[in-house]
Amino acid sequence: MNSRYEVVIGLEVHVQLTTKTKIFCGCSTRFGQAPNSQTCPVCLGLPGALPVLNHKVVDYAIKAGLATNCQIAPHSIFARKNYFYPDLPKGYQISQFELPICERGWLDIELEGSEKKRIGITRIHMEEDAGKLLHADGQSSSVDLNRACTPLLEVVSEPDMRTADEAIAYLKQLHQIVVYLGICDGNLEEGSFRCDANVSIRPWGQKELGTRAELKNLNSFRFIKQAIEYEVERQAELLDDGGKVVQETRLFDADKGVSRSMRGKEEAHDYRYFPDPDLLPLKVSEDWIDQVRSTLPELPQAKLQRYQQEFGLPAYDAGVLSAEKPVAEYFETLVALHDQPKICSNWVMSEVLGALKDKGIDIVDCPVTPAMLAGILKRIADSTISGKIAKQVFDGIWSTGKSADQIIEEQGLKQVTDTGAIEAIVNEVIAANPGQFEELKGGKDKLMGFFVGQVMKASKGKANPEMVNQLLKKKLSA
């Protein structure tokens, strides 16, 4: 990035809520249905139709506010944002302007190798989505109003971010939180989590903010980073050449990696907000807030801390295990059954997540349940099987659904702990490799691994490695 200027980034995120129905009418919000099949007089904007607020949308807004350290307003109102566009049937969008439901929150982000940084959240407000414009070729466009009136939360940050990486860290954390809360499915591509970025630059030391450009159409974390970096370069070149940045909306084209101006929308920015007379003011009591607070799950940041403190896990493990709620639940169930957090962590991170990724399966459908996995870990702990054989047992459970003990029994995987049997194998291996054994005796310690390996191989992995080691040492000193 250009180092001559300081970069200032503020983000507006639209979070689509997972309610069953729209924000102001009872139409379904299901995705992918036939165009206009999920509409009614309210969301079509027909004269005389009156909006009625979905209680759950308010619950979700309070949840989001609490999870992002916001103050929940005891009194808030809805406003009309007026503009004309074919995907907006009423000629205005119902939103909140003055008195939004949540204000003054924050999230702490942490980039590798730097201090924790607090990013302010200006406000979170509730609003309805617009419909969808399908750009058919030729002389016309098509409008599908199924999405019109779908509930959204708009989360507006303070212009507190200074690099694209900070912006991404903030977004990922916000994304993680709304998915954890179960209020958003988090699907960026389908538009459930949409981000607009306000980007400006200023010479170092300058107090006033530079003129900003608003970047739209950013539907993946990678594009967001690309778009911000492109925009910073574009503005820096303009300023370097003695030019000026114009306040405008720019559309990012991910294929070409460039953005272009959406001129002509300038005048439309006079929205003439006023309180919507169709909707009563919203009053949120302390009781209501407390009731929602009691439903909050432990959030990813808190889990991350707890996994390190309570379980003594490294930050990396804690991060992987807490990133997604179902993974965290799997891990916590496993630890409850087998109280060795680091061993559990290793197994979940490598075997479980690895196998799931290979097979393209979601963890909630994992054929090896935490209880089954605990069954394997118990057999390692009591030396019935070795760690290596355990992986074979894991595969066996995966494909058959049987328990660890059944697999061990059926496949004869029980570790050989009979000293006599192991000693016999050790003797065989020594006899087969007399030269190497002499070298080992002569002090070539590296060969120890070779002998252990040979014995393990000869026992088909079933010999107890600890005992093999001891026996070999005994032979050496004999």
Binding site: S28, A34, P35, Q38, P41, L53, H55, S140, L145, D270
Partner: protein, 96 residues
């Protein structure tokens, strides 16, 4: 004057109205008169009165998050000037 012709032109553009020059003149005078009339409210003493966004002293009207039947594609498109494909409203091409 509270309002000038430029204001009226601006508001007309936002409302997608094409006004003739003489209409603009008339509107300017009329809107100014309306605003002047509303301005009378400023004569009231509102000291100590809480601001309000609504005329009725009520709050919190909700519906539960339960699906109700939609009206169906045919009815939904009943007033559409033009229909595109199976079930879309057709509008003049929108260029972004």
């Amino acid at each position: 004057m509270k309002i000038n012709q430029k204001d009226v032109e601006h508001v007309a553009r936002l409302a997608r109205l094409n006004l003739e020059p003489q209409e603009l003149e008339v509107m300017t005078v009329q809107m100014d008169a309306i605003l002047g009339y509303v301005d009378k409210l400023n004569e009231l003493d509102t000291e100590g009165i809480e601001p309000t966004a609504h005329a009725v002293p009520m709050a919190n009207a909700f519906r539960e998050d339960e699906i109700r039947p939609s009206i169906g594609i045919e009815l939904a498109l009943g007033n559409a000037p033009m229909v595109a494909g199976e079930s879309c409203f057709q509008v003049p091409k929108v260029i972004e």
